[in-house]
């Protein structure tokens, strides 16, 4: 069974905050978002608004998730029945309907990443955080591990997505260093961990090496 998918009937067994209101930063974002949709089509804004709510929770509590009251706030803001927002929020796995750690470790274990050693990355994460299963949070509340399907960056496999950032070309040692840095509160630079420029070959170009460009006169 897919343990990483939120239970659709939730809302009962997790402690939900009693209140949620968009703060000034969120409200500014929402104004920009809603300006994109014609009058009467505000419901289209439910996805971006849920992200706004999730980010605000991240800012305010250190746990970027969407509690039910936040879904209600989105529904109220867009003039939709709350259930329509619940449907959207529970459908997309990128919305966390349960509290998560400060760093959401999203580990790709699909074939290309797996072939390139994602099992080692997973094992390193488990060893570092002490997390046993999936969609669990470490005892210190810093890390949550989630297994995800292809993140679409297979050329730099294996991938470890932390919150919104991709860390690429991972292995066990580099995973340990990354988590250590995160734990210290640093923000390591995302991208390839072995210094590749995007997905360019390791150690510089190996095709079209004979081409020389003349500088314009």
């Amino acid at each position: 069974m897919a343990e990483n998918i939120g239970d659709g009937s939730t809302g009962e067994n997790i402690a939900q905050p009693a209140h949620f209101a968009f703060d000034d930063e969120s409200n500014a974002e929402i104004e920009k978002i809603l300006a994109k949709y014609p009058a009467g089509k505000q419901a289209s804004g439910s996805l971006p608004l849920l992200y706004v709510a999730q980010r605000q929770m991240g800012r305010q509590t250190g746990s970027a998730w969407v509690p039910r009251v936040a879904m209600d706030a989105v529904a109220h803001r867009l003039g939709m029945p709350p259930i329509r927002v619940y449907e959207v929020a529970t459908f997309y796995l990128m919305f966390n309907t349960t509290p998560i750690g400060r760093y959401h470790l999203q580990l790709c274990t699909t074939t290309p990443c797996w072939l390139r050693g994602s099992d080692d990355v997973v094992a390193a994460c488990r060893k570092f955080t002490g997390i046993k299963g999936w969609h669990e949070t470490s005892a210190d509340g810093l890390f949550t591990m989630t297994e995800v399907e292809c993140l679409g960056a297979c050329v730099n496999a294996p991938i470890l997505q932390v919150n919104d950032d991709f860390y690429e070309d991972m292995d066990a040692a580099r995973t340990g260093e990354l988590l250590d840095a995160l734990k210290r509160g640093e923000a390591p630079k995302p991208g390839s961990m072995i210094g590749r420029m995007t997905s360019a070959p390791e150690g510089g170009p190996n095709t079209l090496t004979t081409l020389h460009f003349q500088t314009a006169e």
């Binding site: 897919a2 239970d7 529970t90």
Partner: protein, 685 residues
Amino acid sequence: MPKVTVDGITVEVPAGSTVLQAAELAGREIPRFCYHERLSIAGNCRMCLVEVEKAPKPVASCAFPVADNMVVFTDSPMTRQARRGVMEFLLINHPLDCPICDQGGECDLQDQAVGYGRDHSRYAENKRAVKDKNLGPLVKTVMTRCIQCTRCIRFATEIAGVPELGATARGENMEVGTYVEHALTSELSGNLIDICPVGALTSKPYAFVTRPWELTKTDSIDVMDAVGAAIRIDTRGGEVLRVLPRINEDVNEEWLADKSRFAIDGLKRRRLDSPWVRRDGQMRKATWPEAFAAIAARLRGLTGERIGAIAGDMVDAESTMALKDLMGLLGSINLDCRQDGARIDAARRDFYTFNTSIAGIEEADALLIVGSNPRREAPLLNARIRKRQVAGRFPVAAIGAAADLTYDATWIGDGPSALTGLLDGSQDFASVLRDAKRPMVIVGQGAIARPDGAAILAACWKLAAQTGMLAPEWHGFNVLHTAGGRVGALDLGFLPGPNGKNLDAMMGGGVDLLWLLAADEFDMSRIGDDTFVVYQGHHGDAGAARADVILPGAAYPEKHGTYVNTEGRVQRGSFATFPPGDAREDWKILRAASAVLGKPLPYDTLEALRARLEGANPVFARINQLPRFGCSDHSGPAGDPAALGEAAFVSCVPNYYQTDPISRASATMAKCAALYQPSLAAAAE
């Protein structure tokens, strides 16, 4: 129109039809779960797959539009193979619990599995289990059985207008429910049970009661409100176990309101099953002759003007006629059928009926509601208004206490002053009504059951005449009744004769003998202490508590009866089961009493009584027919349109779930009232 060939049968269908509709037209049945004629098309169950020539793969016929010269095969090997595959998928997670499932015997999945299912499953994996949801006291859920057709979600959103159900999570974890647990806040929630193609949503009060093939089915008419929905009464061994809607496109389509469906357990409680007579201040069980003798003794020496009769809200026209005739033989013209004191002018029939007709709502293009909350007073009619508004461009304004009617309504005031504003044009909605081609007004009992009711009725008529609601081919003036027997009684003129006493005048000793025909809805303490009260009815409710003689009558499933709904549509309900104990059909009681009183009524059979009905008012000859008519005579009902009071309108149905003796005796309705209207339920106790 495109020509489509379905299994060799060529049919012409309107452009834009779906393949499924074309196949139905050709007489080919297509299996389906998610498709429902009255709901939007979802196309997610895939059971309706058919083969279309030149299409590379089977198409879902419910969502596939026809094209000219399309050739469809609904029974080809490819179609059958596709449907077998779909059925196998559907059954992967569906439990094999038919023996303990209430849907068994009337289950779409069960039926279609016989046609397209394999004899065994190829899956060894565990089936998924889903937590049951609590949707309130009426709908029971076994969500593991859900095949996610989403019919219930679409019904709640589109027809009932309460978008509370949804599908949360995704894939194997998808669940249908409310996410946040709460009871559905709809008066039409019982219909979810009917539209659910499997046993996921079943009736909570009816759980594990019986199997459908054990039931005797009787077609009848509902009288719990004045809509007159077509119903089927299911009985077993003399017990009414279930009420289901029948299709009547003109009235209820295929829906039924919750009270009509679930109040039937009240038919088994607090019943009057034998005559009672008060002797020395105590009510004592008696025989029929003793009860009649007690009435005869009290009647001796009484003149007609000291005798009165009040007809109740759920009484059939036959009993009303018999009582009126009996009173006539006794010389009394003190009759009233308006327990709520509604100021109705019965001079013309269109002064007190719903002239636009319920189906006619769909032709209207603007609506004003005065002193009514149709959602509580007539949920099915309210659903029709919602259907009209969903179709587009239907401004609705309402005067009264603001409430959620499940559609957009502008509340332009809470009392008669808003009506004045409309009449003199100072209220903006007046121009909306004037500009509309087919505007209509609905006047509720809350607007006319008050001292200035006649003036309000006259003012509404004046407004109707001013704004073009009264035209030779359109009648937009409507009175919405809430009592199933009221219009029938009005048609029979069960009203005070010339200088006769109305209900108010009969109170406080205005008459010496008062005959209550299942009348329980007015304050019994107003009856004078010395008035001798004969209560003829089926429940031990307010009237029976005050009575000196109780004559046990029959409730609506226990008698053949003619009922006239708020539109003025004459319909016949049927006998489905016997009344309990010594109780009898009401007209027979009146006939027997008349003989003892020495003034025998001139009919001995139901046919003769019905002939008398037709003689009294020719509308009773037009069973199930409702001719549409316009209005060319603009002279209005009696009342001064200017003499309006100040008080705000109050809906006459504060508590939808408990409005009559049957629903007040119902444990299910008591649960609903406690849940949905706790303040009122507490006050009633």
